[in-house]
């Protein structure tokens, strides 16, 4: 079930909201968990047993880790911990990567006449990349002592399975939400701000991402010979907008839904297109994923290697060079998105430029005017997104050659005007406005919370806001949101094109 489907908007959500208001508070989490399982089963009932088994197993491991810690049985605790991490990762690898790994092994071994089987029937469980990261977050937090093991299996199940974040995040670290599982409140103010946020997300997805997506699909369906340079750039810029509005719209809806049920999730996007470096881009794009990789992968790995380096040279205080590990983190981050070399290259490209930014490139960008940094970021992310969008390496290279002006033998048959119709021309200025912080004025509350939520990310766009403007927005905002809701509902009723890009991850 997707948030923009009629069944969710007009049946599931109203029913669950009504139920949550009517039910006894002690039964609320059980009710929400049950509703979440129904939500999940709607998209793939065959994987519900797997989800339940993983939840129960990790809940038991959490209790075991705490029990062993209290009895100071540290060795056994380490064994249980690493076995649990390995089990969760193995499950993800089995469902998501086993065919990719087997196919690549076969490529290497087939000359020797040895082949591994291709598991054609293996269905990817919906949201496995997201709920596996939630499970890992819980187990690691308990192991580190960052949180207490959850005694109540219902509350733990709700952390993993709560429907706003189950299938496509945001990825919520357990220690960020531990208290809210048992102590949260919903008042009219909170509920209405959640509903407003949901409407904004719905509008981003349905009114902006979908029209751009239709154009992008048409352009990416062309062969390199049919692609003119202008059309290729139109396609990838359209894809950048589609991906941003699709996923940030989904995140807005998830955050809004969470608020409607009393949960406060951290922000997942902070205007990534205004970034002046790839480093800054990842502080603004899919923030919950970057935070997860930083806290649970980068930091422990770098800490381990840095300590080893220090042990080899005791007494010498040196700054640790993390560049190889940084590249590795972004390779894994790329492949997290999907089992293909294109996703790996997407991650490698980002890692490569991050590594360069640690040195001379970073110093160069800091010394030059902002426009140079913005142009640099634009080219890097667009080129990387070609690999993200294309399904094969060959298609990506063909597309890139068209962007570079090397394709397009038959380009005259497919002019830009054939794709950029009146709807795209009308939506483009709106979309360009919406990728800047100006858009935040419509989502009343979240800028104010941004400073606390992000920690490192400074709030932008606060200065210079006049009282008159703010008063005007108080009047205009609800009208605008009502218009967005009506248009989005009309679109949903009349259209069949409604994919969610991040569901396949």
């Amino acid at each position: 079930m997707v948030f923009t489907s009629p069944i969710f908007l007009f049946f599931f959500l109203p029913l669950v909201l009504a139920g949550s208001w009517l039910i006894h508070p002690r039964l609320l989490n059980s009710f929400l968990l049950l509703a979440s399982v129904v939500f999940y089963a709607w998209g793939g009932a065959e994987h519900v047993p797997l989800l339940v088994a993983l939840v129960v197993a990790n809940w038991l491991v959490g209790l075991a880790l705490e029990w062993l810690e209290e009895r100071e049985r540290y060795q056994l605790k380490d064994v249980v911990y690493f076995a649990c991490i390995a089990g969760n990762v193995a499950c993800l690898v089995y469902f998501k990567y086993v065919n990719f790994i087997f196919d690549n092994i076969n490529l290497l071994l087939s000359p020797a006449g040895f082949t591994l089987p291709h598991m054609a029937q293996l269905l990817l469980p919906l949201g496995i990349s997201f709920f596996t990261f939630h499970l890992l977050s819980y187990v690691i937090d308990i192991y580190r002592g960052a949180a207490r093991a959850q005694r109540n299996p219902i509350d733990f199940g709700l952390y993993i399975c709560f429907f706003p974040q189950l299938i496509a995040g945001p990825i919520i670290r357990y220690h960020d939400i531990e208290e809210q599982l048992t102590q949260r409140r919903v008042d009219l103010e909170k509920f209405s701000s959640g509903a407003e946020r949901f409407i904004v997300g719905l509008g981003k997805k349905v009114l902006l991402a979908n029209p751009f997506g239709q154009m992008v699909d048409q352009i990416f369906a062309l062969s390199a010979a049919d692609l003119g340079t202008g059309t290729a750039w139109l396609g990838i810029c359209g894809y950048a907008l589609q991906l941003y509005f699709d996923f940030s719209g989904y995140s807005d809806m998830a955050i809004g839904l969470g608020r409607m049920f009393g949960f406060e999730y951290l922000e997942n996007f902070n205007y990534p297109f205004i970034s002046r470096s790839i480093h800054e881009f990842w502080q603004r794009w899919h923030i919950s994923l970057s935070n997860w990789f930083r806290d649970y992968f980068y930091m422990p790995m770098v800490m381990t290697f840095a300590r080893r380096a220090q042990l080899r040279n005791p007494g010498v205080r040196r700054k640790f060079d993390d560049r190889p590990l940084l590249a590795l983190v972004f390779f894994v981050c790329g492949i997290w998105h999907g089992a293909s070399w294109n996703f790996a290259i997407f991650g490698i490209l980002h890692g490569f430029f991050l590594v360069l930014e640690r040195g001379a490139l970073g110093r160069f960008l800091k010394a030059k005017p902002a426009v140079i940094s913005h142009v640099y970021v634009f080219f890097v992310i667009m080129i990387a997104w070609v690999f993200f969008r294309c399904e094969t390496l060959q298609a990506a290279l063909g597309y890139l050659s068209a962007m570079a002006g090397l394709g397009g033998a038959n380009a005259a048959d497919f002019p830009i005007a054939a794709f950029a119709d009146h709807r795209i021309l009308l939506l483009t200025p709106l979309a360009l406005l919406a990728i800047t912080p100006l858009f935040s004025r419509i989502t009343r509350d979240w800028r104010a919370r941004a400073g606390q939520a992000f920690g490192q990310v400074a709030a932008v766009g606060e200065a210079g806001q006049s009282g008159v403007l703010e008063t005007g927005l108080i009047v205009v905002r609800p009208v605008l949101q009502a218009v967005i809701l009506l248009l989005a509902c009309a679109y949903i009723a009349g259209q069949t094109y409604n994919p969610f890009l991040y569901f396949r991850f």
Binding site: R144, G145, M299, M303, Q310, R317, F320, G455
Partner: protein, 79 residues
């Protein structure tokens, strides 16, 4: 009088000690990124002869909190 901890932070972050105070944090100190955190931990462990656990590292989000953690671990000359 100079402060050992502030001096250490200034040295690792490569910023003047006068720009740092007890409330300095990654949010208000641009040089204090993830890698700087690792380098700070290495320097602190060496300077104060302590071993920090992951949870202690994660909770050191200001210089004041780092100081409190080190005092708790028995590091001398910080109070």
């Amino acid at each position: 009088m100079t402060d050992r901890l502030i001096d250490l932070f200034a040295n690792v972050l490569n910023v003047p000690a006068s720009e740092l105070n007890e409330d300095s944090s990654p949010a208000n100190t641009p040089a204090w990124d993830s890698l700087a955190t690792i380098n700070l931990v290495l320097a602190i462990e060496q300077e104060f002869k302590v071993k920090l656990r992951t949870q202690q590292i994660m909770s050191m989000s200001t210089i004041a909190l780092a100081r409190a953690t080190l005092i708790k671990l028995g590091a001398a000359g910080l109070a």
